[in-house]
């Protein structure tokens, strides 16, 4: 069983929903990013998504675009991202790590080497935003061989027929994109998302985690009623962009955690 399955079982037994937090690797620089990452589990993050910086993130809004550019400016690259996970893993063996990003940096690293090195560093899953199921053959078998889950996105535009395509080969959890838009822009409509997630849960046993457009503890609380977990990304990354240190981020994450617990 990989760490993602373990955490969802644990949360289920505790009657809690998962708090998934997103940061971009190397933002604002390698050292600060590592200390922000190290503090996340203690502040209540159940799963951590780490963005792999890319110059042209076409599914991301201004906050995560800026985070990627800050990281690249500070010298971020894939080796450094994997090293950051490895260092984190040497002190934390439980919290699942999911790398999120785009195809091109993975291809440049070499798909085979990437999957091996990511698994060795302690990565549990991958979200490749621009890799739909139709193009997955190049990477999915390599991910599987190395015990990495390919986490698929489901969106408000995914109809029933398409859902089957998306679920084929999906692992870990389903990431429900709760708005038609890019990260950190609109706010999600809880009723619409809730109805769609209910439909999705009829066809899969995978946990469904909602993300995009969830910013505040109130958003988190509302969304947790209808999903198995929620992702907060842009709101955290914005704080980092404004110079917040690991303590300030911890406070923000703790508030999200408390809101989920109380929900």
């Amino acid at each position: 069983m990989n760490r993602i399955e373990t955490i969802f079982e644990k949360l289920k037994s505790e009657g809690r929903k998962a708090l998934v937090t997103f940061i971009t690797a190397g933002d604002p620089d390698a050292a600060k990013s590592a200390s922000i990452l190290a503090a996340l589990p203690g502040s209540g993050a159940d799963i951590i998504e780490i963005g792999m910086p890319f110059t042209d993130p076409m599914a991301d809004g201004p906050a995560i675009q800026a985070a990627g550019l800050r990281a690249l400016e500070a010298g971020a690259n894939m080796k450094q991202t994997l090293k950051m996970v490895q260092d984190f893993r040497s002190k934390n063996t439980d919290t699942p790590i999911v790398l999120m990003g785009y195809m091109n940096p993975v291809l440049a690293y070499g798909p085979d080497a990437f999957m091996k090195d990511a698994a060795a560093a302690g990565v549990d899953g991958l979200i490749l935003v621009d890799l739909p199921p139709e193009e997955a053959d190049e990477l999915a078998p390599l991910a599987q061989q190395n015990g990495l889950h390919i986490i698929r996105l489901v969106t408000p535009t995914t109809d029933e027929a398409r859902l089957q395509t998306v679920l084929n080969g999906a692992g870990g959890f389903l990431y429900y994109v709760s708005i038609t838009g890019v990260t950190g822009t609109k706010s999600a409509n809880v009723d619409e998302v809730g109805a769609h997630i209910k439909e999705i849960k009829k066809t899969t046993n995978l946990p469904v985690v909602a993300g995009f457009g969830i910013k505040t503890p109130e958003d988190a609380s509302a969304m947790s009623a209808i999903a198995d977990g929620i992702v907060v990304g842009s709101a955290i990354v914005e704080q980092i962009g404004e110079g917040a240190d690991d303590k300030a981020i911890s406070t923000q994450v703790q508030a999200l955690h408390d809101a989920l617990k109380a929900a």
Partner: protein, 410 residues
Amino acid sequence: MTQKPETPHPANSIRTGPDENGHFGPYGGRYVAETLMPLILEVEKTWHAAKEDPAFWDEFKDLATHYVGRPSPLYYAKATTEHLGGAKIYFKRDELNHTGAHKINHCLGQILVAKRMGKTRIIAETGAGQHGVATATVCALFDMPCTVFMGAEDVKRQAPNVFRMKLLGAEVVPVTSGSSTLKDAMNEALRHWVANVHDTYYLIGTVAGPHPYPEMVRDFQSVIGNEVREQLQDAEGRLPDSVVACIGGGSNAMGLFHPFLDDTSVRLIGVEAGGLGVDTEKHAASLNGGTQGVLHGMKSYFLQDEDGQITEAHSISAGLDYPGIGPEHAWLHDLKRAEYVSVTDDEALDAFQQLSKLEGIIPALEPSHAFAHVLKIAGDLPKDHLMVMNLCGRGDKDIFTVAEKLGVTL
């Protein structure tokens, strides 16, 4: 008009690409966010139905004839031929189209597809503004709201085209993300599309992007090669020995090449923008100076660093200033069916001036690249060699850039 039903492909044809998933060999495909996938599949479905519908082509042909002015002439460039003393050179005069370039061909075709899909607004990206102007033009014609994303840097550099788009009723959105140029305009258009899938059609400006765009834009642009084939048959009674076109994303070149792909006697020559030289960091030659990758929905060749970060393209010609290339060109490059060369900014600038004086035609800086290569090779070819160069745009838009380079204040 020569957009007629194609003859059956021979068994070993390379004109049948892409496959059903949009792949040209290892290139192409649909590398887009899941939100866009249903829409991309709908574009494909609508396009494939339209492609088989004679009524669709009737409407396209009627507009191409009476609105655009097709067929464009095939002109024997006598002065150039005599000046170089080698190959017999013809120009395909696509600069005489309405809006002054070949871009109108795929804009007309795509807006008809958008209408069939029931979409009510159009978005587009533009670099130099030529595709933006052509898109704004067809949107005015069909009375559809039009939003054009343009890098903030390009908005500054291409003020006349920004004004043209506005005159035509389009909204121009300056893009400040990333490096504020064409690739960022394309990113922003994709982001906007993700947020407006219900009513919006993205009218892509070249043979790039996710399937079916490379195929669809190529098929609309193939009117160029089909006309050349027929016109040269009338003029010379045979096929050309070589065809030459400039390449940024590759739309005019693909339109010229595609009807000749299976005619192995025809040399296909694509001319990339070499900027300050492909051995420098300042060029836009994705095939000669780039590597394989994935961006903007497709697998192809891109300018990138060793970590897979996309690098800036540079060219004197804003229309060639793109760090990628259409996937079918990537495939033809690997197959060695087409030759891809590059010429520098300086060579293109020199060719721009020579063509103006030799033939009384002020070309755009884009086909000036093609002409620079013609100047390099035509003189050494035999007199019975028939060469066709696509003169894909006129130079009015470039006089400010050229004047500045020549140290002339307008």
